[in-house]
Symmetry: C2
Subunit: 271 residues, 2 copies
């Protein structure tokens, strides 16, 4: 059986995209599943054209919405430039879902025999640079006196294992629900969309890795936004959804302490 | 007022110590408060000799115990080579306790006017290399097919704000209590020491940063061990305590699934 090896050529560029790095707005916006691009070394990963264009390879529309939010709030955006089929940057290296052998109805041939060396190669090529970029960016903002809240932007498929999903927007959180609570409160005051907490999946499904790594570990507010991808399939839909999310987010930060401090995790030194 | 600036000279070496990097045992052992050494650029930080030798500068005895555990279990040890007064590597850059202005009864003059540039300089010099080293090490172990559980080793002062502490060993955890539960069960079957859960402080005090960053984010078992420092003030005490902790830890890993998998955080891919 063929052994697939991920090697990024220098001409394929950095795996991490950063926009508005110097934006002084209150957020860092992260998009782990921004791209369906495969490193050349991975060929087609044994998948059909259809599969490689589908939601198993990326989150369609998510980058466009994330970018609009980034611009709206003058806040940095960090996104992954390669497909989550090679490495899903919202999963730790220990997770089988980081390089899934199966995704929904598709078997992923290139992930069926990932040995330890290949796991480490992909971790080094895609995962570690991505999360180092996010960490470095938040460090720099903290140094510049800018308080940061973390927003990750995703999309989900309207039909999963043949079953339609009614939820339109998921507001996901792990142990720290502050930001999600405020967004959900804002959503409840209108009824433009079907917005739900921790749907269509939640922390028990292992989807809050980036929130834990960059939000909870630092004590900064954090939320994961999931949009049903049929609503953001084109520019019009993306613009409408980004506008709607901007309203919710703006209302949510209006709820936050007006005297919000840069160093939010203030606690006494323990000895 | 003097502005203190942390600059590490090349001859002061790397801020991170790593021992038994290739150890194939089941743990990565982390010691954030291993050293009372100050970078030369920080002078005496405005503190007395007595303060600089005290528990506010480091966790006395913790490195010695951590090293014995590392050797006992053939497991890598990562430790910080500079004092937590400059940067407390068990706190994120956003936390005021990362560079405490006050620690117990002592005011820390060098930390009274830390501006953003200095905060970033210390983050870059001490915090980021330390945690990058831990991340890289666990990545490599995962690539080598070695399952990792995380143990952080600390000590606490027997008298805090004038009040004696009866607890001798604290077994601390955050949201993931698996490893701590098993150690506490083992401790309960003997009565050699006063061992307590989340004492003399716990997750609400912000002391579980490393556990969240490297343990919970990866889905790997993790625990923070706190030993009262009068029990590990000399080699004899350190050896006795390391022996005791080794027994608890060995019993705890005996409790873990015999079919323990390398990729512990196995979950389906969500779309």
């Amino acid at each position: 059986m063929r052994k697939w090896e991920c090697v990024l050529s220098p001409d394929e560029g950095e795996p991490v995209g950063i926009e508005l790095a110097g934006g002084r707005g209150p957020f860092v916006i992260v998009c782990e599943h921004a791209s369906a691009t495969l490193p050349r070394s991975m060929g087609d990963m044994g998948l059909s054209e259809e599969a490689l264009r589908s939601h198993i390879a990326w989150d369609p529309g998510a980058l466009a919405v994330a970018r609009l939010l980034s611009q709206q709030f003058d806040s940095p955006l960090v996104f992954q430039k390669f497909s989550r089929l090679v490495y899903d940057c919202n999963r730790p290296p220990e997770s089988s879902a980081a390089m899934p052998m199966k995704s929904e109805i598709y078997t992923v041939p290139a992930n069926e025999n990932v040995d330890g060396a290949e796991r480490l190669a992909r971790t080094r090529a895609l995962y570690r640079p991505f999360h180092s970029a996010v960490s470095t960016l938040i460090d720099e903002r903290t140094g510049a006196g800018l308080a940061t809240s973390l927003i990750t932007v995703h999309s989900f498929t309207p039909v999963y294992f043949g079953k339609p999903r009614a939820v339109e927007v998921g507001i996901l959180h792990d142990a720290d629900a502050r930001f999600a609570d405020d967004i959900l409160s804002a959503a409840a005051s209108g009824n433009r969309h079907d917005v739900r907490r921790n749907e269509p999946y939640g922390p028990a499904d292992g989807v809050t890795h980036s929130l834990i790594l960059h939000g909870i570990s630092r004590g900064i507010p954090n939320v994961m936004i999931e949009v049903r991808n049929d609503l953001i399939a084109d520019q019009t839909g993306q613009g409408v959804m980004a506008g709607y999310l901007s309203e919710l987010i703006a209302a949510a930060i209006g709820q936050q302490d007006k005297n919000n401090k840069t160093f939010v995790n203030v606690r006494s030194h323990q000895n």
